[in-house]
């Protein structure tokens, strides 16, 4: 995104020169300790960005505390009176924080992202790659049921059931991560994906029925 991004990735002690005053500043420091000016964000993973441990069982309250707390420092509204370069850097930080928050707060996206970090990415997208025949059957049946549902009550029944399933699968995902059974977690994720998609479709149909 910025030219600084291309700088070599550093360890804990890696340094770079502050773009404003030239002082050597720790790579990870977002502000220069000498002149206080904002530095370019580093290419780190979403958990590190939010200063959270890279794990699945995170509390929403903790995620939000970190996100809001960091945005209070970096949001462009804090830099409106600053020179253009500082405004642009703040915007980059805020953009990265928004992206990190969007991924980490959503359990499914968080799980899939963690699996990428662990080097075990879930393959394919949406329902195109359900290989487990039992899951495939379940998916087809549910979809048919939704297609045939006529009344709002019927659809609401499906929504309740699908959302209940989602909760249950999430527990299993959490359990798999706790045991570091990443492949199992990945399989649960595939099921969670289509359940989530189905729930969204059901909500959508429910909303259309009302309109």
């Amino acid at each position: 995104m910025s030219e600084e991004r291309a700088e070599k990735d550093g360890g804990a002690t890696a340094m770079r020169d502050c773009w404003s005053c030239g002082t050597a500043v720790a790579m990870r420091a977002p502000f220069c300790h000498a002149c206080g000016v904002i530095q370019a964000p580093q290419p780190v993973d979403h958990f590190t960005r939010l200063n959270l441990p890279a794990r699945f069982d995170l509390q929403m309250a903790d995620i939000e505390r970190q996100y809001f707390g960091l945005q209070r420092y970096f949001h462009p509204d804090r830099f409106a009176a600053k020179p253009a370069r500082e405004r642009a850097l703040s915007s980059q930080h805020a953009t990265d924080l928004n992206e990190a928050y969007a991924v980490v707060k959503d359990p499914l996206r968080r799980a899939e992202y963690l699996l990428v970090l662990k080097g075990r990415p879930v393959q394919g997208d949406a329902c195109s790659t359900i290989s487990d025949p039992r899951v495939l059957l379940e998916a087809m049946e549910m979809r048919e049921e939704l297609a045939e549902a006529q009344s709002a009550t019927e659809i609401e029944g499906i929504i309740a059931r699908v959302e209940g399933e989602c909760e249950a699968v999430l527990d299993e995902v959490a359990d798999a991560f706790a045991r570091e059974a990443f492949d199992l977690a990945g399989r649960h994720c595939i099921r969670l994906r289509y359940l989530t998609k189905l729930a969204a479709e059901a909500h959508e149909r429910r909303a259309r029925l009302e309109a």
Partner: protein, 632 residues
């Protein structure tokens, strides 16, 4: 100016006036505009000398060449409707295609639009774009603020409907630039309202803001918590508001009229008059159950009765549309109506009883209107202006209202940034070529929720050229979208295997070109010089009046201190000032004021001595300073 010092100490500006540079908040509305200033988190609307807060968003361009804004312009509406423009916000960022859709419903005379150019209005001999007309309103607001604060203002936060697309936002920013205002931030109207409401009422929890104004409708859901204002979802209609209620009534009246008087071809001016009457009828029916109105158009008169029930039947479909949108936004936020702790009503059209009933019905609670629904947006804008210039503890997290994407094969849209993403946001997507040896790729950026590109708003088209010959599907073209904190989009594209790049700040298809903008800036600078001259002249006259007034009072009270010759000298200086005041020469007025000042110096000193002597009789020494400092 010793005379003044003795008589009007309170009127001279305080020596320790604000040192920090103030930035104002502006609600640039379809019907009414306001300007407000916040100091120490206490926002206040800046009123004109006779105390009115709202400036009607009406501009008149009389043949004399001057530009009138607000109440003055509105008075021209009935006399010279051809030369008066209202509701111009509805045309901001609109292109000829949009106008074809709106054709017949707009009381504007449009210049046949050239391809890809911004529309122009025909007003008497002038041809003006919506951006220029909006700039005239902004100039008037700027002048009002400068008059109220006694100093120059060049920075502002300006609010826009949350549902404004990129073209309309860009047009608003351009208008501000023309008016000589730096836009610190474009803030969404419902978000500004939430800020004012939340900070004033200390509200915490989930709130819905329902904003139905003159021309636009927005509904936003926010979470307010410990100083964080987080927009969860927003939706609306940039072309739905009180104006449409007026149209519905006017159409009914005109249909009745056609039955009474036979078909007629009404002039644009007559249509404007019918709309004014319709608005009157609508506003009356908020408090009354029925009434009768007269249309006197093109020299023929017709009478029309309307009761509240029929009015509600007329506008029910429009109100239903807002309720459907509110439901949609709740759905997007994954919330049920009962999850919302309060519904804040914003905008003049929320006074319509049917609107209140329907909103109350949806949310299962009475809506809130603790803050004046006409002012709350401007107050929020002022708070944000203060926060941006002087710092603040609150955090405003807003979203982009509409999805942004790219046209792909078959005219379909591939979404790159989804609606309700928190801004600033950046996303990239890879595309590829579909022909062997394809050396260029047209990138068509669209905004909206529909599946086909042509059903959405076209924002920009640009071409990535110089792609080296490859087989179809081998090129990797990465298109990056970034939406900044103002909600404005920038797009860039790069071919990853070779690094061929293109970068555009999206200039909406119907936006102003840089050349047009430059020409307008030049022109407005010339006007600004004329305006400045006129203002300085007016100010000189005002100071002359003040001096003369003060002197007359002094002569009445202490004229006895002067002998005949002294009195004659002063009278001569007064006569000279009065003469020069009638002229157009600012320098002459200034000189006459100074001359009068010199002629009255002895008199002022004698009065001072006498006042002190008089004061000393009954006043202790330590009270003396205060007493003399404050004059009589």
């Amino acid at each position: 100016m010793q005379i003044l010092e003795i008589h009007e100490p309170g009127e001279t500006p305080l020596p320790h006036a604000e040192e920090r540079r103030p930035a104002v908040g502006i609600d640039l509305g379809t019907t009414n505009s306001l300007v407000a200033l916040s100091q120490d988190q206490k926002p206040e609307v800046l009123c004109d000398p006779d105390g009115s807060a709202m400036v009607p968003s009406v501009v008149a361009y009389p043949e004399t060449g001057e530009v009138l804004v607000g109440e003055l312009a509105r008075r021209h509406l009935l006399e010279e409707p051809d030369l008066v423009v209202s509701s111009i916000k509805r045309l901001m960022g609109r292109g000829p295609d949009d106008l074809k859709r709106l054709a017949g419903t707009l009381p504007f005379e449009l210049e046949p639009a050239e391809d890809g150019r911004m529309v122009r209005l025909r007003i008497g001999a002038r041809r003006l774009t919506p951006v220029e007309i909006s700039a005239d309103i902004l100039r008037a607001l700027k002048a009002r603020a400068e008059r109220a604060l006694g100093r120059e203002i060049d920075q502002a936060v300006i609010t826009v409907p949350a549902y404004f697309d990129d073209a309309a936002r860009t047009a608003t920013r351009d208008a501000a630039r023309l008016a000589g205002l730096e836009v610190l931030r474009l803030v969404n109207e419902p978000t500004a309202a939430a800020l004012a409401y939340g900070l004033d009422q200390g509200a915490e929890g989930l709130y819905a803001i329902y904003d139905l104004g003159g021309g636009t409708f927005d509904v936003s859901i926010l979470r307010l918590e410990k100083g964080v204002f987080q927009v969860l979802a927003t939706g609306g209609d940039a072309a739905l508001g009180g104006d449409d209620f007026d149209h519905a009534i006017a159409e009914r009246f005109l249909a009745e009229r056609a039955r009474q008087l036979g078909a007629e071809k009404l002039s644009v001016a007559a249509t404007k008059q019918a709309l004014v009457t319709a608005r009157l009828a609508k506003e009356c029916l908020t408090d009354r159950t029925q009434g009768e109105w007269v249309l006197d158009l093109d020299g023929r008169t017709s009478r029309h009765r309307l009761d509240a029930g029929s009015f509600e039947a007329l506008v029910a479909p429009l109100v239903e549309r807002t309720i459907a949108t509110a439901k949609r936004v709740l759905f997007d936020a994954r919330l049920k109506p009962q999850d919302v702790r309060g519904v804040v009503m914003v905008g003049g059209s929320t006074r319509v009883p049917l609107v209140r009933r329907k909103v109350a019905e949806l949310f299962g609670r009475e809506p809130l209107a603790n803050i004046d629904p006409d002012q709350v947006v401007a107050l929020g804008a002022a708070l944000q202006a203060e926060a941006l210039t002087h710092g603040s503890d609150t955090l405003l997290l807003d979203v982009t209202p509409l999805s942004l994407g790219i046209e792909t094969m078959g005219g379909l849209v591939e979404k790159v940034i989804h609606r309700n993403s928190t801004i600033p946001v950046a996303r990239a997507q890879e595309f590829t070529t579909y022909q062997d040896g394809q050396s260029a790729m047209l990138i068509h950026v669209v905004q909206g929720e529909r599946e086909m590109a042509r059903q959405n708003r076209s924002l920009a088209r640009f071409e990535l050229r110089g792609i080296p010959p490859m087989v179809a599907g081998a090129a990797r073209i990465r298109v990056s979208f970034a939406v900044d904190a103002d909600g404005l989009l920038t797009v860039s594209a790069e071919e990853k295997t070779t690094g061929v790049a293109a970068h555009v700040e999206v200039k909406p298809s119907y936006g102003l070109t840089e050349e047009e903008m430059a020409a307008m800036l030049r022109e407005s600078m010339e006007h600004a010089r004329e305006d400045m001259e006129a203002r300085l002249l007016a100010e000189a006259r005002v100071s002359a009046d003040r001096v003369l007034l003060a002197l007359r009072g002094a002569l009445r009270a202490d004229g006895g201190l002067l002998d005949g010759a002294e009195r004659d000298a002063i009278d001569a200086a007064v006569a000279k000032l009065e003469r020069s005041k009638e002229g157009e020469d600012r320098g002459a007025i200034q000189d006459a004021i100074e001359e009068l000042d010199r002629a009255t110096q002895d008199f002022a000193a004698r009065r001072m001595d006498r006042n002190i002597a008089a004061a000393l009789k009954g006043v202790s020494v330590d009270q003396l300073g205060r007493k003399t400092g404050s004059g009589e």
